[in-house]
C-alpha cells in the first residue's frame, strides 16, 4: 500500500505534536501515512490540486476553495470526515449591554469589530448575517478587522479576542465571534459579566473537514476513514491527541453545513482573486 499523505496547516506549534501522534497511530495499524505542513490554507489547497497531498485537513473556507477550484478543473472534491465539534456551530454578534442597538439593522453607521479577514466564524458568516439584514459592510457600517495570522482562516483565537477587547474598549459598537469563544471570553473576563449582550446568533454551520479530490487511491482512503471513525475517547493512547485536536469523536463528512459561507464568499467576493489566480496556474 502506498503512503497516504495528508496536508495540514501549522497554525500552532501543537499541530506538529498532533500529526506526529496520528502518524504513529495510523502506521501502527498498517496504514502507511505521512503528513506535510503548510503555512497557510491557500498554499495547502494549491498543493492538493497539484497532487502534493492526498487528503487535506481543511478549514471551511479552504473546503470551499478546494471545491470551487477543483470544479473549475472538472474535478470533484469530497469531505471524508470531520470532528463532532465541527458540526452545528453558530456565531454571535455582541454589543455592549447598555447600547441602544436592538436589531442587526440598528448597526447602521456603527463600527463592527471582526476577526481575521479570512475567518469564517469571526468575520465572513456574521458579516453575511448583517448583510442579509440589509446593511452593506464597509458602506452602511464600518468593519474593524483584526488580521491576526491571515491565511490561517481564523484558526487562531487571537483575532476574535481582539474584536471582543475592541468592543469593551469602546473602539467598536459590536463584535463578532464563535459561540464557544463567547462562552470562553465571558468566563475569562475578556467580556466582563453583565457588560455585553448577544444581539444576534447566526444559523448553525459546519467547520473543518478532511477534503479529498477524486483520483486518490481508494484502499488507503477507506482504511484512513475506518481508522479515524474507530478512534475512541475511551482509548488512552489516542485521548490526548483528540483533546489537542478538540474533539471527542470523528464523524463522517457532510457538506450541507457550508451554505452560509458559500453565500458570504459570493457576496463579498472573498475568493475571486485567489480563484482567478489558482485557475491560471
Amino acid at each position: 500500500m502506498d503512503t497516504l499523505i495528508l496536508g495540514a496547516v501549522a497554525y500552532d506549534p501543537k499541530v506538529v505534536t498532533i500529526w506526529e501522534g496520528f502518524k504513529q497511530h495510523f502506521v501502527e495499524r498498517e496504514l502507511p501515512f505521512d503528513f506535510v505542513l503548510y503555512s497557510n490554507y491557500e498554499r495547502q489547497v494549491e498543493g492538493q490540486l497539484a497532487g502534493e497531498v492526498h487528503v487535506a485537513w481543511n478549514s471551511p473556507l479552504a473546503w470551499i476553495e478546494a471545491e470551487r477550484a477543483a470544479r473549475a478543473r472538472g474535478r470533484k472534491a469530497a469531505a471524508l470526515a470531520m470532528r463532532d465539534t465541527d458540526r452545528d456551530l453558530t456565531s454571535v454578534v455582541v454589543v455592549r449591554a447598555d447600547a441602544p442597538i436592538r436589531t442587526l439593522s440598528d448597526l447602521a453607521r456603527t463600527t463592527v469589530a471582526v476577526g481575521a479577514s479570512d475567518s469564517p466564524q469571526a468575520t465572513l458568516i456574521p458579516l453575511l448575517a448583517i448583510a442579509e439584514a440589509g446593511l452593506k459592510p464597509g458602506a452602511d457600517f464600518r468593519v474593524l478587522g483584526h488580521d491576526l495570522l491571515v491565511g490561517k482562516h481564523g484558526d487562531h483565537i487571537g483575532g476574535e479576542r481582539e474584536a471582543a477587547r475592541a468592543l469593551i474598549a469602546g473602539k467598536a459598537d459590536a463584535a463578532c465571534m464563535i459561540d464557544g469563544n463567547h462562552l470562553a471570553f465571558t468566563r475569562e473576563g475578556t467580556l466582563p459579566a453583565g457588560s455585553t449582550r448577544i444581539l444576534a446568533q447566526t444559523a448553525p454551520y459546519d467547520h473543518c473537514n478532511f477534503t479529498v479530490l477524486e483520483g486518490v487511491p481508494a484502499p488507503q482512503l477507506i482504511r484512513f476513514t475506518e481508522l479515524l471513525l474507530a478512534m475512541s475517547y475511551d482509548d488512552p493512547s489516542v485521548r490526548a491527541l483528540l483533546d489537542m485536536e478538540g474533539l471527542k469523536r470523528w464523524l463522517p463528512g457532510r457538506v450541507d453545513g457550508y451554505a452560509q459561507l458559500n453565500r458570504a464568499v459570493d457576496l463579498f467576493g472573498t475568493l475571486d482573486a485567489w480563484l482567478m489566480r489558482a485557475g491560471r496556474e
Binding site: R87, L89, H182, T186, A193, D234, K248
Partner: protein
C-alpha cells in the same frame, strides 16, 4: 410517558459556574440518557450549544422554552466515563493498609498522590528508585513528624548576641572548625537531595523525610557560616583531602551504600563531633548551634539505620556490599591526608580554650577521646545493623579520617 430528569439553573449562567450543576446532574443519569435543562440566563441557549459541543453531549434546543418549559434537552455522552475507564488506584494514602504502599509502583503513577485514581495513559516518569525494599522504612513517617515538629528558626533559636570573650586565636580555631562543618554539611545536603529526585513519589514519607533532612542541613550551613563570621570577616581553609573525602560520598550512586556511608558512618561520627563542640566550645553561640544541629543529625542517623536494617533483612547480599563500599572508599582515599592538620589543631585549641600548657594537653586528650567516641559509636551502629563485632571494628577503623 417517562419523566425526563431535569436541572434548574435559575439565572446562573455557564459563564459563572452553571456548568458544575450540569455536570453533577449528568453524572446522575446513565450515558445516552436525556436531561432537561431549565434556566433564565439570557445567554444560556448560546452557551449550552457551545458547552455541549465541547463536552461531546448531544443537544436539542427548544426555542422560546426559557422561563416556561425546558430550554434544552441534553443527552449524556460517554466522554467522561470513557476518560476514567482503566483508571487505577495508586495504592492507598494510609501506609499501614495492605497494598497501601506497593512494592514496585509503576512509572505511570508518576506524581499522583498515593491513593489517587490515576487516568490510564498517564506519562511514565523516570524515577529509578522505585523498589520498596530499597528505599522504604516504616519509621519514616514518625521521623518526618518528629522533624517537622522540631524545626527551629536560626534567627531566634540561637542567642547571637551572647558574648565571645576567648582569645583571638581560639576564635581562629572556631572559624576553621565552622568552615569544616559547612563543607561537610553541604555534602550532607546534596546527597539526600540528589536521591530525593530519584525516588518514586509513591514512597511519600521517605520523600518528605529526605526533604526535611536537606532543609535541616540548609539551616546548619546558615548557622555555622553565621557563627564563623560573627567576629571575623573571612572563612577558614578548605583542603584537598577534605574535599576528596566528601567527593567520594557524592559520587556513590547506590542509595543503600550512599546512606550507609553518609548517615550511619559519616553523620554518626559527626554526632560525636557536634556533642564534643557543644561541651567544649568556650563561647555560648558555638555551643548552642552545635547542640541544635546534633539533635537534627540524630534523626538523620536514625533513618539511615532504619531503612538499612529493613533492607538488609530482605536482601542477604547487602551486608557484604556495604562492607565492600567502606573498603572501596578507604582505598580511594588511601593517598589523601585524611583529617587536615588545620582542623585537628583547631579542635585541640578549641577544646583547650587557651594557650596554657595544661589546657593544651587536656584539649589534645579530649580530641583523642572524641576519636575513640566516634569509633565506639560507629561500631555500635554497625552491630545494630547486624555486623559481627570483629567486622564492625575493622570497618569502623577503615572509615574516613575526615569524620564525614
Amino acid at each position: 410517558m417517562i419523566d425526563v430528569p431535569r436541572i434548574e439553573l435559575g439565572a446562573l449562567g455557564l459563564d459563572r459556574g452553571a456548568h458544575l450543576l450540569l455536570k453533577r446532574a449528568l453524572r446522575q443519569i446513565p450515558v445516552g440518557a436525556p436531561l432537561h435543562v431549565f434556566g433564565s440566563h439570557e445567554e444560556l441557549a448560546v452557551h449550552l450549544r457551545a458547552w455541549c459541543r465541547a463536552e461531546g453531549h448531544e443537544i436539542e434546543l427548544f426555542p422560546g422554552g426559557q422561563g416556561l418549559g425546558p430550554i434544552a434537552r441534553i443527552v449524556r455522552s460517554s466522554a467522561e466515563t470513557g476518560r476514567w475507564k482503566g483508571a487505577e488506584a495508586a495504592g492507598a494514602p494510609d501506609r499501614t493498609l495492605p497494598g497501601g504502599v506497593v512494592d514496585k509502583p509503576p512509572a505511570r503513577w508518576g506524581l499522583a498522590a498515593r491513593g489517587a485514581k490515576v487516568e490510564a495513559g498517564s506519562p511514565a516518569f523516570d524515577f529509578p528508585l522505585a523498589d520498596k525494599d530499597v528505599v522504604w522504612a516504616d519509621e519514616a513517617a514518625a521521623l518526618y513528624a518528629q522533624a517537622a515538629a522540631a524545626q527551629w528558626d536560626p534567627a531566634t533559636a540561637v542567642d547571637w548576641s551572647a558574648p565571645i570573650t576567648h582569645p583571638p586565636e581560639i576564635e581562629d580555631a572556631v572559624v576553621q572548625v565552622m568552615t569544616f562543618l559547612v563543607e561537610n554539611e553541604t555534602a550532607a545536603l546534596i546527597v539526600p537531595a540528589s536521591f530525593l529526585a530519584k525516588i518514586h513519589p509513591h514512597f511519600r514519607e521517605v520523600l518528605q523525610l529526605l526533604a526535611i533532612q536537606a532543609a535541616d542541613e540548609a539551616r546548619h550551613i546558615e548557622c555555622f557560616t553565621r557563627r564563623a563570621l560573627l567576629v571575623r570577616k573571612d572563612m577558614g581553609l578548605s583542603t584537598v583531602g577534605g574535599q576528596e573525602s566528601l567527593k567520594t560520598l557524592l559520587e556513590e550512586p547506590d542509595f543503600a551504600l550512599a546512606f550507609f556511608l553518609l548517615s550511619v558512618l559519616g553523620e554518626g561520627s559527626f554526632l560525636s563531633l557536634l556533642w564534643f563542640l557543644h561541651e567544649n566550645a568556650s563561647d555560648p553561640v558555638t555551643r548552642q548551634v552545635c547542640c541544635l544541629a546534633a539533635q537534627d543529625e540524630a534523626r538523620h542517623v536514625a533513618f539511615g539505620l532504619a531503612h538499612l536494617r529493613r533492607h538488609m533483612g530482605l536482601d542477604q547480599g547487602l551486608r557484604p556490599r556495604l562492607a565492600a563500599a567502606v573498603e572501596r572508599r578507604h582505598d580511594a582515599l588511601r593517598n589523601t591526608d585524611g583529617l587536615n592538620e588545620e582542623v585537628f589543631d583547631a579542635l585541640v585549641l578549641l577544646a583547650a580554650g587557651s594557650w596554657e600548657l595544661d589546657d593544651l594537653g587536656k584539649g589534645h586528650d579530649r580530641v583523642v577521646a572524641l576519636r575513640e567516641d566516634m569509633d565506639r559509636g560507629r561500631r555500635q551502629r554497625l552491630e545494630k545493623l547486624g555486623f559481627p563485632a570483629d567486622e564492625a571494628e575493622a570497618l569502623s577503623a577503615l572509615h574516613t579520617r575526615n569524620f564525614m
